[in-house]
């Protein structure tokens, strides 16, 4: 055994904490799953690490890196367990963060409101200062007004402060000065400034993001310290990285300052895992869908890259940050089927969650769920979930779906299939939103399901979208943890300033890039990243001068202006179907991401039972397309060697997922041990 050769990815979810470890020298992979401990998430991580070490007989001292995907920040937001937070704004603008965009979340609902800001009005304070649209100071910062605010902050015993001034993204001097003054007067109070959290145009979204960040800082900082100490005590040589919403890792120190960057930590890791899986199977364009208990996340990956989006709601609050472009829909295994007042059958968004869970969990669930429908159709393994460690009450599923069938005057199987088709229709709408509506034809993509329930629903979605191929990863239930192992360390830099795309501005653009390059060098040095692993990505946000929303253009290096405009035209044609070569074009932001790359993972070794001609472990009746069940062979995925081929109908069980091969489908296990399904009945 070599010292420091193991890297561990730890993904903390709502129900389970997944661990995936790889020995960078031998390629050996190990998995472990423990129950999450929401009250103290670090406990499950430590228990998981110790359990994993015991399972594969290694010493935790041999762990060189731990990469962590976390929901701590998101949960703290949802449950409002953050700090007592105050806000400091430009004079006359403390209401800005409460007014937001002056809209209602639902047009026809008189009671639906967006949530109130986390800093109530009496904790939002104003100081005398004003910066203008060219970054010029209109009203100098009045320190006396700052000191008056500091007195109030002290009296109110706030734990965190968000500072957000107008146009601070162009001129951060006032925010910085106020931060320094507060830090000197009130040590121990966490401080976020909008110019550091996300220095970009649009004051409401920037202020909201900054306020959320400040609200999370104290809680997250405590968590990070605990985790860092616990890991250091067991694995003194290990670096700890925290996954960000853009799919790259940050250091613990950065995470302490910017907890809001973890809002999409887990799903971003899933996207990284999916990219790794696609690359290993020689594919480049895939649509992923990760089906959990209450929701499904879908993402589009093209040329082995996932697009970033910058605006998203987190717990009802707008957040502006680079985040993987994931669309979430309330459709999961626990989604409840119900009859609306007009008699139509609906599925979700209400979910039975983990408690009570679907009826078949036997924990008191009395409403039919998607999982119950799968049980009725024989699609879920009768030996239960998680390799048989969790048994299923199939009678309960028949009972609850049967009650609905009686009301509708249909057979229990018809209703079960109806539930699954409506579930597919809901997911298909989410997939269309990230594909068709952005100028991509889903038929040009391979569908990649993951998460415990993903593979069960792949065929229904592929059929509705006309997708011909489905790729099922070797470890669909643990892809997020695996993604953490392949995530690069990263730090994003941005310059947000509207500049016309004209020759005379080429110099200004180049200067912005070099300034960010200097910051990247600093970051690499600070993070001690090996020069061989250093890489940068560059992008420009561009739009027509008359437009309000930007397109992001990925660049290798800053090209000349003419080329830059051509790239914008191509992107505009792709997104909107047309471009106008004569209209003036603006660059509104330049973005540079510094990376510390990580070595690629090797393909895990096959299990001892693997063979190219596996035999079914059993047979069972399964309802596929027809009105009667088909007796299908049931295989264990561990028995599949690379090169195995199979024709449907068949069921493939594995530790935490069930795969279905429909009649007419063919499957082939590739060298990376992923399964590529070629759908047979494309017209159905």
């Amino acid at each position: 055994m070599k010292t420091g050769s193991w890297t561990v990815g730890v993904d903390v979810g709502g129900t389970f904490t997944d661990l995936c470890a790889v020995d960078q020298q031998t390629g050996q992979v190990a998995l472990h799953k423990v129950s999450s401990t929401p009250a103290n998430p670090a406990a499950a991580i430590i228990a998981g690490l110790e359990g994993l070490a015991a399972k594969i007989c290694i010493d935790l001292a041999d762990v060189s890196a731990v990469a962590h995907g976390t929901t701590v920040a998101t949960n703290a937001l949802i449950q409002r367990r953050g700090a007592r937070v105050a806000m400091v704004t430009t004079r006359n603008f403390r209401d800005l963060v409460e007014i937001g965009r002056q809209i209602r979340p639902r047009m026809y609902d008189l009671k639906a409101d967006f949530p109130m800001p986390l800093a109530p009005r009496e904790l939002r304070f104003e100081v005398d200062e004003r910066v203008g649209p060219a970054g010029e100071v209109i009203t100098p910062l009045d320190m006396a007004s700052v000191d008056a605010v500091i007195d109030r902050l002290r009296a109110e015993q706030v734990e965190a402060v968000a500072i957000a001034f107008l146009f601070a993204y162009l001129n951060p001097a006032h925010e910085q000065a106020v931060k320094a003054r507060i830090a000197a007067a009130l040590p121990g109070v966490a401080i976020s400034t909008s110019s550091e959290v996300q220095p970009e145009f649009r004051e409401y979204e920037r202020s909201s993001t900054t306020l959320l960040n400040a609200y999370l800082q104290p809680t997250f900082s405590t968590y990070m310290t605990t985790l860092k100490d616990e890991v250091a005590a067991r694995s003194p040589g290990a670096t700890l990285g925290v996954n960000q919403s853009n799919g790259g890792l940050m250091s613990v120190d950065t995470a302490r300052d910017f907890p809001i960057r973890t809002a999409l930590s887990g799903p971003a890791a899933g996207a990284m895992g999916a990219i790794h899986t696609a690359r290993a199977s020689g594919l480049s364009s895939i649509i992923t869908f990760d089906v959990g208990g209450t929701s499904a996340d879908v993402a589009l990956i093209r040329d082995l890259q996932v697009k970033l989006s910058f605006d998203r709601d987190v717990a009802g609050f707008p957040v502006r940050m680079p985040m993987v472009d994931i669309n979430t829909v309330g459709a999961g295994g626990g989604s409840i089927a119900w009859q609306d007042r007009d008699g139509l059958l609906k599925v979700g968004p209400a979910s039975a969650g983990a408690q009570p869970g679907p009826a078949c969990y036997g924990r008191g669930g009395t409403e039919p769920t998607v999982t119950d429908a799968n049980v009725v159709l024989g699609r879920l393994s009768t030996r239960g979930l998680l390799g048989g460690t969790m048994s299923l009450d199939t009678d309960a599923s028949f009972r609850v779906v049967g009650e609905m069938a009686a009301q509708l005057g249909l057979s229990v199987e018809q209703v079960a299939r109806g539930i699954l088709e409506i579930m597919s229709a809901n997911m298909v709408r989410a997939i269309r939103a990230i594909s068709v509506e952005r100028g991509h034809d889903p038929r040009d993509f391979v569908l990649m399901p993951f998460g415990g329930a993903g593979p069960l629903h792949a065929e229904g979605c592929a059929r509705a979208l006309g997708i011909g191929q489905i790729l099922i990863p070797l470890l669909p239930g643990i892809l997020c943890a695996q993604g953490l192992l392949v995530s690069d360390r990263s730090e994003s830099f941005v310059r947000s300033k509207r500049i016309a795309a004209r020759e005379e501005n080429a110099g200004a653009l180049a200067e912005m890039v070099s300034a960010m390059q200097v910051e990247a060098e600093d970051w690499w040095a600070r993070e001690d990243i090996d020069p061989a692993d250093r890489k940068v990505q560059l992008a420009a946000d561009m739009r027509y001068a008359s437009q309000n929303y930007e397109l992001q253009i990925t660049l290798d290096a800053l090209p000349d202006i003419a080329t830059l405009k051509q790239m914008f035209f191509a992107a505009h044609a792709q997104a909107y179907g047309f471009f106008n070569p004569d209209d003036p074009v603006d660059v509104v932001a330049l973005r540079l991401t510094a990376l510390g790359t990580r070595p690629a993972l090797q393909t895990p070794a096959q299990s001892g039972t693997a063979t190219a001609a596996p035999q079914p472990r059993s047979h069972r009746p399964v309802w596929f397309y027809g009105v009667t069940p088909i007796t299908a062979p049931v295989y264990d995925r561990a028995d599949f060697a690379a090169g195995t081929t199979l024709t449907g109908p068949a069921v493939i069980d594995q530790f935490d997922a069930t795969l279905l091969l429909f009649p007419g489908d063919t499957a082939r296990v590739d060298d990376a041990l992923n399964i590529l399904i070629q759908r047979g009945n494309l017209d159905l």
């Binding site: 809209i103 437009q547 929303y549 179907g577």
Partner: protein
């Protein structure tokens, strides 16, 4: 047709059509040139069947647009026999008096859908163009007294014949609008959205047989209709009357009454608006279709917010309104600012329903679509500019919670423009933006506050145009609650403050002066004495209310308070 299709199939097939209208909605939003469409989403998409019945509407569609679409359908089907409509045709209209529209900037498009060679319905979209010609830029200002002044009137025309663009018609459209390049972009976005919808529906046609689709549409409407009828049945039978007045038509008529008598009998409800004012000279008149849109919005919102938007609801809206009245205006009545009246009509419907369904109604909202327009020559580049915005205000108190401060209400839901966008694009400075003290009506659940925004020109003189409502008639509280604050426009210069008219036009704003826009607040819900002491203490802490206001409206609660209130920094 017999109801044999099962509820699972209805849901799945309908879901496919919902995808089409949502996709065309996004496509139109992204490819349009007008800020109004791109940023403020003032557009809608829908599918109607060949009888003109509304089948599905995009989720983000605006209530005011529903009736325009069915209005266009009625016009189209009255003008052409089905065998005169061909694949590749595209129909266009905007006129409120002869083509089912509600005001001229909203341009309606419809393209026929053919499956198996048969006309089955239409894909429709509607978008608010930033200008449609007429006497003022933007085609929306007050002060216009005839529809001819408000812009180009388009009766139903066939812009595409069997796939071929009638260029002469398009040329006519463009010659009559300011900034024709931008208009062309918006028209092409609407055309592209039609073509996309035609293609997507054809794809659905390959998956489901036509008879099934027809049956699903019939059943969908029938089930929605039955569901709405059931919701009406749950309202106690009776006659419910209410009345309110509009401030001002901008051309000299003030305190314009809107009268409503609702009769609920079993599963029917009739909205009798007779007795409302005759149509007025100023452009706040409602075409009957706009009245219908307000009624449909109120029915859905008050009785069953989750119900699907289709013909099943519209068929429940029985309206009696005198032709030539403000709620059923006749040519050549001007209508551009009709939204203010629609908002007030919704308040009136809510006020009437209050005794029947007390748990579902709310205090009167800001009842307006407060419009502020700044224009001038940008000293930075010598180019003319026009900054147009509508501001939200108070939303009324509810039966279990306070109203909402500073938000768009009822049938509009358009965003504000970021301050950093305003100041970057226009030579204007936003001096302040916040809630107005004491503007939320007192009550067990208080009304929401209005907004104040102060704007000044930078380095030049500019011009201000505005349209307000509830500047003189305050938004009322409900069940004993107090009224919200009124709005106003104020010009502040070196010489002091001048309160402007309710619908001021062409006000000179010299450099060094500023315009204050104050929008109305809203009424509360329930008597002020029932407000909890904790909630009153919260009002004090937040600084949204003055000490004097609180002592006046909540004397008992204020006396009970022991801790002195703290002043904000």
């Amino acid at each position: 047709m017999s109801a044999t299709v099962d509820p699972i199939t209805i849901e799945i097939v309908t879901s496919a059509f919902r995808s089409v209208v949502d996709e065309t909605f996004i496509a139109l939003m992204k490819s349009a040139y007008s800020t109004n469409i791109k940023e403020r989403h003032d557009h809608s998409t829908a599918i109607c069947d060949r009888d003109g019945r509304l089948i599905v509407q995009a989720e983000m569609s605006l209530p005011i647009h529903i009736a325009s679409m069915t209005g266009l359908m009625e016009t189209l089907l009255a003008k052409y026999r089905l065998d005169e409509i061909h694949e590749g045709d595209v129909f266009v209209a905007n006129d409120p008096h002869v083509a089912g529209g509600t005001h001229l900037p909203d341009i309606n498009y419809a393209a026929p859908l053919f499956l198996e060679g048969e006309l089955v319905g239409f894909i429709c979209n509607i978008a608010h163009h930033a200008d449609i010609g007429g006497m003022v830029p933007g085609s929306m200002a007050g002060g216009m007294s005839e529809i001819y002044q408000e812009g180009l009137r388009i009766p139903l025309v066939r812009l595409f014949r069997k796939g071929e663009l009638q260029q002469d018609i398009m040329d006519l459209f463009l010659l009559n609008a300011r900034i024709p390049d931008e208009r062309r972009g918006d028209h092409f976005a609407q055309i592209a959205a039609c073509k996309l919808g035609v293609r997507r529906v054809a794809e659905i046609g390959t998956r489901y047989p036509l008879p099934l689709i027809r049956e699903v549409w019939d059943e969908l409407i029938r089930r929605t209709h039955d569901r709405m009828r059931a919701a009406i049945t749950a309202v106690p039978d009776g006659v419910y009357a209410f009345e309110d007045v509009m401030d001002d038509d901008g051309l000299g008529t003030t305190n314009i009454p809107l009268k409503l008598k609702i009769t609920v009998a079993g599963d029917r409800v009739v909205f009798d608006l007779r007795g409302s004012a005759p149509q007025v000279r100023g452009n706040i008149n409602l075409p009957l279709n706009a009245t219908k849109a307000a009624v449909a919005y109120a029915l859905r919102t008050l009785l069953d917010p989750e119900i699907a938007n289709n013909q099943g609801i519209i068929d429940c809206c029985e309206i009696v309104a005198d032709p030539g009245s403000i709620v059923n205006c006749q040519a050549p009545a001007p209508v551009a600012q009709r939204l203010n009246t629609s908002q007030r009509l919704v308040d009136v419907i809510i006020g009437a329903f209050a005794p029947a369904i007390p748990g579902r109604v709310v205090g009167a909202a800001n009842g307006a679509n407060t419009t502020a327009v700044f224009s001038g020559i940008d000293p930075r580049n010598g180019q003319p500019y026009l900054y147009f915005e509508t501001l939200g205000g108070g939303f009324g108190g509810r039966d279990d919670r306070d109203g909402k401060d500073g938000v768009q209400v009822h049938i509009t839901n358009t965003s504000n423009l970021p301050i950093e966008a305003i100041e970057t694009e226009y030579p204007l400075r936003v001096v302040s933006y916040g809630f107005i003290e004491d503007s939320g009506g007192a009550g067990q659940y208080r009304g929401g506050a209005g907004l104040r925004r102060v704007i000044q020109p930078v380095g030049h003189d500019c011009t201000f145009n505005g349209a307000g409502e509830r500047f003189t008639n305050a938004p009322w509280g409900i069940f004993g609650a107090g009224p919200g604050g009124t709005g106003r426009f104020v010009l502040t210069g070196p010489a002091g403050e001048t309160v402007l008219e309710v619908k001021p036009s062409a006000v000179a704003v010299p450099e060094g002066s500023s315009v204050t826009v104050e929008t109305p607040g809203s009424g509360g819900y329930g008597p002020a004495e029932d407000r909890s002491a904790g909630a009153v203490a919260g009002d004090a802490r937040s600084g949204k209310f003055s000490d004097g206001f609180l002592r006046r409206n909540y004397p008992a609660q204020m006396t009970a308070q022991k801790t002195p209130r703290t002043e904000p920094a």
